[in-house]
Symmetry: C2
Subunit: 119 residues, 2 copies
Amino acid sequence: MEKVNLAEKFSQFSEYYSPKIAGELNGQMVKLVKFKGPFVWHHHENEDELFYVVKGNFDMEFRDKTVTINEGEFIIVPRGVEHRPNAKEEVHVVLFEPGTTLNTGNVKNEMTLEKLGRV
Amino acid sequence: MEKVNLAEKFSQFSEYYSPKIAGELNGQMVKLVKFKGPFVWHHHENEDELFYVVKGNFDMEFRDKTVTINEGEFIIVPRGVEHRPNAKEEVHVVLFEPGTTLNTGNVKNEMTLEKLGRV
């Protein structure tokens, strides 16, 4: 039962698109991720995903629209919905999602991470 | 798939210890709560609870220690663990917990809320 300071945790890693586990509860995970540039278009078959911005901003691209998520804002992407995060500058994001969630969802490529580190 | 701005949502209500639902995913809920002063000692039989401070700070009291949670910090209280949030000044907190979670856990009193509003 230790508290977690987000800024401190974010200072402990620098690589992009490599979420780190910062907490677990009820089968869900709290992950911290930094990124810049576009990710890969993908969806998650069985998992909804929450993205909360703690520093910077990014565009959540959907096939029919783009939503810019700024500091202090979150968006929930329902399962099955294709999306692609894209950041002009480095952004720090908290993810809430089930422990089973694969970062690239239905797509497997060089960005796919089978195992995540902790922070 | 609309984004949620936390500051904007927090500006829409003022009552203490009355969590508002701001999002749902994977059977979990994102709730926003403002409070000041002590809550009631309680635990949750089957739910872990996350508390994330977006403004202010509060003491999470446990039977054997107290942890002060500041802005930008979170703590996860595992199921079964007795706790009591207590804030000297008004604090704005995001809760992440299963939809089934009752605010006062195993205790039922005048602070118990059977049904939550949305924001």
